[in-house]
Amino acid sequence: MEYLIGIQGQDFVLVAADNVAAHSIVKMKQDQDKMFKLSDKILLLCVGEAGDTVQFAEYIQKNIQLYKMRNGYELSPTAAANFTRKNLADYLRSRTPYHVNLLLAGFDETDGPGLYYMDHLSALAKAPFAAHGHGAYLTLSILDRYYRPDLTRDEAVDLLKKCIEELNHRFILNLPSFSVRLIDKDGTHDLEKLIPVGSK
């Protein structure tokens, strides 16, 4: 039901998430923000079991901050992604696993932009583009067709719009709006919310 997407460019990462918080067949909230700021240049997008998502994401968020306090510098996106995966993996074989699917997007001074795909079985993969949710089945092929590593920011937003239009067209559920953010060397930037044509 929930949807996450990330697209990596030459010097930025574009991410978007839907804004619906649902409880069975009811939309409880239409402006839910599913992105968690781990640091100035790292975002964690988190969907899955209600409660687990916020609990796990905030736990990771505070641990990243603690690392910053202890060591005087922030964790790189790669390190943060691996730390998150390790935590997920440790909990997986406990009596209380977290059922969450994640995208971690970040910008590193030396390595540049990075997008990491993580799922509830604690798989970790660095990818140029990725998506979570039922919507992923509909949009990954669009990304396969039109993605190029040298996308400009505007082209990436257009590609994102294509994906969301496809969801609006073919996905059975109505996802009325999407939060969009962009990470580059200057930090995290909020872009305009995407509202597919025909939604209220």
């Binding site: 905030e58 736990y59 505070k62 901050q65 603690l66 306090m69 202890r70």
Partner: protein
């Protein structure tokens, strides 16, 4: 006489002393001086930098540490003990944010550190028979920062586990001298601006530090801004300003010679 009652933290002396705590306070008095000043829109921490051996890298042995974005502390005493306290405080700052979605107040984190110090003393009562007894933390800390509502705070803790709020204070080797200087010179005028407050901290340390600006480490927190460690160049500039002001004061006071 004291010898019989000073082994364990769990034992009172006949005249009501906890000798281990008092000995811990002695350890603090051996540490290098630190001074803290609470201004109107700024809080300042200054420490005396111990001179390093010739072959040692001048990597700053940081005695001023950030606990969170809005709180930091300086300590006097056993560096190793301080590391433990600082680590626990940092974890508590994040834990607090996680559970109540709010940053700690300066008083809260001070109370947590003080309780840590006291509880670790008391752990001895239970474990004395089983493990090698614990000793108190041999540090005093100056904790500064801004609360959520923008109020600046300065607190001091000591090995006994008590804490108090101060307008300005010092700990460590020449704490008494510095405190006396502060008692004389801490006025509303003296802390009117951020710069003045910083200069007051430097002046206080210059009273007891050997070779001037080179041996001073200074950090400030301004409201809604993270901790900033001053560079040695900035400190030198301020020291030069202070020297100039001192000279001007001396010139004014000199009686005019009649020829």
């Amino acid at each position: 006489m004291a010898a019989r009652y000073d082994r364990a933290i769990t034992v009172f002396s006949p005249d009501g002393h906890l000798f281990q705590v008092e000995y811990a306070q002695e350890a603090v008095k051996k540490g290098s001086t630190a001074v803290g000043i609470r201004g109107k829109d700024i809080v300042v921490l200054g420490v005396e930098k111990k001179s390093v051996a010739k072959l040692q890298e001048e990597r700053t042995v940081r005695k001023i540490c950030a606990l969170d974005d809005h709180v930091c502390m300086a300590f006097a005493g056993l560096t190793a003990d301080a590391r433990i306290v600082i680590n626990r405080a940092r974890v508590e700052c994040q834990s607090h944010r996680l559970t109540v979605e709010d940053p700690v107040t300066v008083e809260y984190i001070t109370r947590h550190i003080a309780t840590l110090k006291q509880v670790d003393c008391m752990q001895n009562t239970l474990r004395y028979t089983q493990s090698n007894g614990r000793r108190p933390f041999g540090i005093s800390a100056l904790i500064v920062g801004f609360d959520n509502d923008g109020t600046p705070r300065l607190y001091q803790t000591d090995p006994s586990g008590t804490y108090h709020a101060w307008k300005a204070n010092s700990i460590g080797r020449s704490a008494k001298t510095v405190r006396e200087f502060l008692e004389k010179n801490y006025t509303d005028e003296a802390i009117a601006t951020d710069n003045e407050a910083i200069k007051l901290a430097i002046k206080a340390l210059l009273e007891v530090v050997q070779s001037g600006g080179k041996n001073i480490e200074l950090a400030v927190i301004r409201r809604n801004q993270p901790l900033k460690l001053l560079e040695s160049k900035e400190i030198e500039t301020l020291v030069a300003e202070i020297e100039k002001e001192k000279e001007e004061e001396a010139e004014k006071k000199k009686p005019k010679k009649s020829t």
